[in-house]
Amino acid sequence: MGISVSVLVFTCISIIGVSGVFLITGLTGMFSLGQASFMAVGAYTSGLLVVRFGFSFPLAAVVGVGAGVLAGLVVGIPTVRLRRDYVALVTFGFGEAIIAILNNLTQITGGAMGLVGIPPITTLPFAALSALLSLFIVWNFKFSRFGRQCIAVRTDELAARSMGINADGMKLLVFLLAAGFSAYAGVLYGFYTTYVDPGLFNWTRSAEWIIMVFFGGLGSVSGAVLSAILLGTLPEVLRFASEWRILLYCVIVLAIINYRPKGLLGEREFFLPSGKKVRVEGGKP
């Protein structure tokens, strides 16, 4: 086949990250250019706890995700009530800040050399199970009361507010959930590669996740998963140089936005259980 185990593990990890971005961008219409830094928070916190303080993996993972959510709280509270542009700006700035901290606290984080010696714990079944679990959560979220409220906020925030939806609350909730997802993806990543450095978590990774959500179709979980798998494994199979891969993404996204703004699947889902239809007729995403 030519697909190695590591490609599959990385695909599972990016599915987890993409499900977070799906909640933020696909359902609620915000842009986070700092998802990768929540991933960094998760990876570094859990890695440091195990390497330096001898924590057990499950505890470290929980604390890592908690730290990610906490960071999400710090970034989210001031920004969700403002125009959506600010979310992108502030998360971008947050990413810069996190990278600066990781690079400069050399004694603790290893600086630009990275944190080494994290034990390899993540296996393919474990990663796959985690990806499925996160998909399960996102799927149920989308078809719950919360998901519908999020879609309302994305489609027309003012109208949603006037219907009595707590838009700021929904946005913050989604933001925190996504931060948790990203942090968990980071935990898995760190404990798979056994090594993390600040350069792994720059904003292009965050942008890549947004691109995947767009590629699949803005409101579709299936689409997000499909594009995470396609865009994650195809280049590995075809052995593109990694720099050309990003270029290819960009061209694809420009083409999609210009000629097929709904993405691959639009709002549609595979395996939609009957009676659980969310229709956004004529709604602008």
Partner: protein, 292 residues
């Protein structure tokens, strides 16, 4: 903060201000954060390097040629990434994704053509230090300040004294009424992008001189964002004030024991957060609300 730091901060802030203004202009007319401006910065920084080394010309011809290149790139970006979106009246988030994609695309084009090697601009001046009484100013810093000031004044003249300027300001207030008044909206948007590209070209050369050339140089656009947040999103004079403030702050923080240039982004991020909590509309502006 001493006078020396003040001078350095002013010159840094003036470069940030042309980035911030270029960013704010597009925000004004199309109401989205234009990330592709970072791509313009990267490409023009390299274009300026090629012009200066291959053409062996001085600073001013380099700036003029590069700003023309920048203008053309920005027009091209408008054509590829935004024209169809405007025609189909797409929602704002599509513009946003389009501009991010354009930014990444340009950055990667540069990475592929020049690989990740570092380049640096040739020295433009024999004398590198200018003495002002007891203080020293790098000659390039001095020119940065003067030229940025000149560029901003030109922009103000264009915006407030010409027909094009009136059209741009009208477009920023209400696109459909402007169209009804018979203004050629497409041409105005293209002209605005050209202007923004020219500003980006000047900023790109200065960034290239100030730092070494590397493909991620365009991420300096974040300085323009932060300046806009401090000054008020979409407000030109606010953007200039925010940028000068940011430049001063950065120079000052770099001098502080225990922060240095490494941790300065962290402090600036925290200050931005505080600003957003206390005064989300920025120094100058009214906050732009979504209209029904």
């Amino acid at each position: 903060m001493n006078i020396q730091q003040l001078l350095n901060g002013l010159s840094l802030g003036s470069v940030y201000s042309i980035i911030a203004v270029g960013f704010a202009l597009v925000f004004n007319i199309l109401k989205f954060s234009n990330f592709s401006h970072g791509g313009v910065l990267t490409v023009t920084a390299y274009a300026g390097y090629l012009i200066a080394t291959q053409g062996k010309v001085g600073l001013i011809p380099t700036l003029v040629l590069t700003s023309l290149v920048g203008g053309m790139i920005a027009v091209l970006i408008e054509r590829v990434a935004f024209r169809r979106l405007r025609k189909s009246k797409s929602p704002v988030i599509f513009y946003f994704v389009s501009s991010i994609t354009m930014g990444i695309l340009l950055e990667n084009l540069i990475t592929i053509t020049f690989s990740s090697n570092f380049y640096s601009y040739p020295k433009f001046f024999e004398k590198t230090i200018l003495r002002l009484g007891d203080f020293q100013v790098a000659v390039t810093d001095f020119w940065m300040f003067v030229i940025s000031l000149l560029a901003l004044s030109c922009l103000m003249v264009i915006l407030y004294r010409t027909k094009l300027g009136v059209a741009i300001r009208a477009l920023s207030m209400d696109p459909s009424t402007t169209l009804l008044m018979g203004a050629p909206v497409n041409q105005i948007v293209v002209a605005t992008f050209f202007t923004v590209g020219v500003l980006g070209g000047i900023a790109g050369v200065f960034l290239g001189i100030n730092y070494t050339l590397y493909p991620q140089l365009g991420q300096m656009i974040v300085k323009g964002f932060i300046a806009s947040v401090i000054g008020g999103l979409g407000n030109l004079s606010g953007a200039v004030m925010g940028a000068i403030l940011l430049g001063l702050l950065e120079v000052f923080l770099t001098g502080v024991e225990g922060i240095g240039s490494g941790l300065a982004p962290v402090v600036i991020f925290l200050i931005t957060l505080v600003f957003l909590i206390l005064r989300p509309q920025g120094i100058a502006g009214k906050i732009i609300q979504e209209k029904v």
